[in-house]
Every structure is written in C-alpha cells, then in structure tokens.
Amino acid sequence: MNKEINEKPLKKVCIICAKGTIEDVYATLVMANGAVMEGIEAKVFFTFFGLDAITRKQMNKIHTATVGNPAMRMPGGLPFPSILGMLPGVEAGVSAMMKQQMEKLDIPPVDEFLEMITAGGGEIYACKLAMDMFKLKKEDLWEDCSGVLTIGDFYGHCGGENTQIIFT
C-alpha cells in the first residue's frame, strides 16, 4: 500500500448512469459516495433509464432484471432459469432480497444514499434530453438534485486536473 507514489491523486470523478437497474444505480452510488468519503469531488449525471434513481416516484422501487441476466443465481448457487424470471412477482421478490442483503451491509435505500453523497459535497444532475423524452419535470425529481443539464453543460462541470469520467 505504501509504495512510492509517483502519480498525482485523483481529484474529481464524473459518473454517468444511463440504466435503472439495482446494479447500475448502486454501482454509481457506491462509487460517488466512495469518492466523497476519500475527499474526491463527485458529480453524477443520470440519464435515460438511470433517471429512475432520482425520480421521486421510482427511486426506491428499482429492480434487477431476472430475465436476460446470465449471472442470476438461485440462493445456494444453482442457475436461475430465465423462464422462472418471467413469472409475475419474481423480479420484485428477487429485487427485495437483494435490497435486504444490501441493508445488512449498511447500504441504504436510494434516497438516503443520495443524501449521504450530497452531505459530503457530491452533486447530482439530471439529463435534460432524457427528461424531455420521458416527459419529466423538475418537480418529479428528487428535491436535492443540483440541476437539469445538457450533456454539454455537464462536461462543463468535468474540467480540471486529474478528473475522470466514468460511465456505468
């Protein structure tokens, strides 16, 4: 760990989240929160289905896909047949189980996680184009959203030395 550090430390991460599944949204939130906890600036841009994570009606109801997800397993490790994933309620059940497991590791629901990130100075943005596409208004968004931006405006926030853009 204490190898000689020749590189300049990371100063800022700009994370773009375009999908609304548990794994995409949580990967984004964990990375953003992990950054601010290390004193690294974090800006997050939610676009397309990723907007669900900051839409008040949807944010705490996100799911993981039980169909078309080859990494999905039964508890115990057996393969999870796709046909089972199609049954009504299965996706909701699996998603609830995943959230329970995360809660055990002290990983909070989406709204609380966003609050943790902004408490550390992180900023949360919504994509204007996707908002127009899904006919969403600013009032539909989580109240502490820093703003609705075009991608050009978001890039404007991504300047500076040792900044990385991450697409989840």
């Binding site: 760990m1 204490n2 964990v30 929160n33 992990g34 601010v36 906890m37 290390e38 004193g39 590791l105 002290d106 990983i107 909070p108 609380e112 609050e115 943790m116 408490a119 550390g120 100075g121």
Partner: protein, 103 residues
C-alpha cells in the same frame, strides 16, 4: 508492523499510520495524529472518537451511515468535523484500524 513514536509513546502502526492496537491509544496520540492531518480536536470530535472506539471494541463494521445514526452528529456534521475523510481520518485519530467498508 512498524513502530512509531507519537506524542512520546511508542506504538505499533500499519504502513499508513493506523494504530495496530487500540489499547495503545491515548488522547495525546489522537491530538498528534489529528495535527498531522490538519484537524484541531474539539469535544465533539472526541464524542465521535469515543463512539468509534466503543463500536470497534464490540466488533462492529463501521460505516458513515452508522455514525450518522449514532445521535452524535449527522453525516454532514461528520464531514465538517473530519473534512476529506469522514471515516478514514476519524478512525485513524481514534486509534482503530482503517475502515474496510465501502460506505
């Protein structure tokens, strides 16, 4: 393991300077580690530190979320007390190992 003299005490530390043995911790050591980081300790800092040490002794895996729910301070307050490293710096000053949680 490395030995380091902090505030006149010889203590065992890891390569990043976290105390290996919380028993070797004193308030003076906390003060000196905080100084190195650039934090002036207040009573509020010590409330957080005492909480962290207690929780660590009980074997709890610490997260900023737990500290935020401890009733001592909220998460925003924790960032104000330990800027740039709410859990990392507070743990280092509290003489407990580097946090192993991602939250």
């Amino acid at each position: 393991m490395v030995q380091k003299t902090i505030a006149g005490n010889t203590v065992d530390v890891d390569q990043e300077g976290y105390l290996e043995n919380p028993e070797q911790w004193t308030k003076e050591i906390a003060g000196e580690i905080a100084n190195e980081i650039g934090i002036d300790l207040t009573d509020k800092h010590f409330e957080v530190i005492d909480y962290l040490r207690e929780q660590h002794a009980q074997g709890t895996q610490l997260t900023i979320r737990k500290v935020g729910k401890s009733g001592i301070t909220d998460i925003k307050g924790l960032y104000k007390l330990f800027p740039g490293g709410p859990l990392k710096y507070s743990s280092k000053i509290a003489g407990i190992p580097k946090p192993s949680s991602c939250v």
